[in-house]
């Protein structure tokens, strides 16, 4: 006699089996007392689940919903919630980076920042472009420009990860399901 699994019994219970498979299960159930007991147990649990499934909401449920319909908490995502401890540290880091940059420029520590790039490093021969290696023209000013560009990109990246992304995620979860 073929071994019938719980899955097949549940499928039979749900009426998901083909007529042939259903007939086969019924035949086995007639002969196998233990399997029939298992089937009856699954059937009882199934009925018990159906019977207790719906809970009743409180009688004043809809009153409470209507009373809180315009609660400001649901209108917009609070800016304060964005600035938790972790995010504040990241935003603080960005601000410190910007302030250091401003300080370097304003105190003249980087006088060559505004220097133009020397075109002497670029020569054109026989219609082909020939560039000298970039490190030949890498001055202090160029280094600081690269540093500030990197700083700016990092600041934008951190702003996105620390502030914008969490804010839009919250908003999406709250309102656009």
């Amino acid at each position: 006699m073929r071994q019938i699994t719980d899955k097949e019994l549940l499928d039979y219970l749900d009426g998901l089996l083909s007529p042939e498979d259903s007939t086969e299960i019924e035949e086995v159930l007639k002969k196998d007392g233990e399997l029939k007991e298992r089937y009856l147990h699954l059937q009882r649990v199934d009925k018990a689940l159906e019977a207790v499934n719906t809970e009743e909401a409180a009688f004043d449920f809809s009153d409470k919903v209507m009373a809180n319909l315009h609660d400001p908490r649901y209108h917009k995502v609070s800016l304060l919630s964005i600035f938790n401890q972790k995010n504040l540290m990241m935003v603080g880091g960005i601000l410190v980076g910007i302030m250091i940059g401003i300080y370097i420029i304003s105190t003249g520590l980087a006088p060559s920042v505004l220097e133009s790039v020397s075109l002497d490093s670029i020569t054109i021969q026989d219609q082909s472009l020939n560039l000298k290696p970039i490190w030949d023209s890498l001055t202090g000013g160029m280094f600081i420009k690269i540093f500030f560009l990197f700083d700016l990109l990092l600041a934008l990246f951190l702003l996105d990860r620390a502030v914008l992304k969490p804010m839009f995620r919250r908003r999406t979860q709250a309102y656009s399901l």
Binding site: D6, K7, L10, H41, L42, R44, V45, D46, K47, A48, L49, E50, A51, V52, N53, T54, E55, E56, A57, A58, F61, S62, K64, V65, M66, N68, L69, D71, Y74, H75, Q173, A174, Y175, S176, L177
Partner: protein
């Protein structure tokens, strides 16, 4: 007119400014919303707050609702997500006084006799993971197809089938174990 069309008409009225129609929508779906939240949270107060929050979120997001879709599928997804968020908060709560009080109250009130079936089944469901509890709840509400359950929970249909099978089997095995002496009276 089917239930889906009734919902759409109510939504139209709400969006045109007649907020009072939202009450009808709430009253129509509050029991199922509360049931889903309760099966995940297993606490009356939390389930009520979560399901009410879900209704308010739905109200504010109503303009984004795609009319081609079924309101219940969209809305119960909000309920599911809100209840899961509450569940995370629940796990962080050190003391769960309300739960203890609920259980003590039920014992002392002597209501367990008539509510035994509900109690044991709900206990069994509450032992499941939130997603499993939701899947089995929605399945037994007999209102949703597997496709709709998949949409509500954000899981693939095959995963739903597996979860459903495991949850039913686990509940059956658990009840055999716990209620070995009470089975006859429990099932009548």
């Amino acid at each position: 007119m089917d239930k889906h069309q009734e919902d759409l008409i109510l939504i139209e009225k709400v969006l045109r400014g007649d907020e009072s129609q939202f009450r009808t929508l709430v009253e129509k779906h509050q029991d199922y919303a509360y049931t889903i939240a309760y099966k995940i949270l297993n606490n009356n107060q939390d389930a009520e707050e979560a399901s009410q929050d879900a209704f308010i979120k739905a109200f504010h997001a109503l303009k984004n609702f795609n009319r081609e879709a079924k309101f219940t599928t969209w809305f119960y997804r909000i309920v599911f997500n809100t209840a899961v968020t509450y569940k995370r908060k629940q796990r962080h709560d050190v003391s769960d006084i309300d739960n203890l009080r609920d259980m003590a109250g039920a014992d002392s009130a002597g209501n367990l006799q008539s509510d035994e079936r509900r109690k044991y089944i709900n206990e069994g469901i509450s032992q499941l993971l939130p997603a499993d509890a939701t899947v089995i709840t929605l399945f037994y509400l007999k209102e949703f197809s597997l496709e709709e359950i998949s949409e509500i929970t954000g899981m693939k249909i095959n995963a739903i089938k597996i979860k459903l099978f495991r949850a039913r089997k686990r509940l059956a095995d658990r009840m055999t174990r716990i209620l070995s002496t009470e089975t006859k009276s429990l099932y009548g």
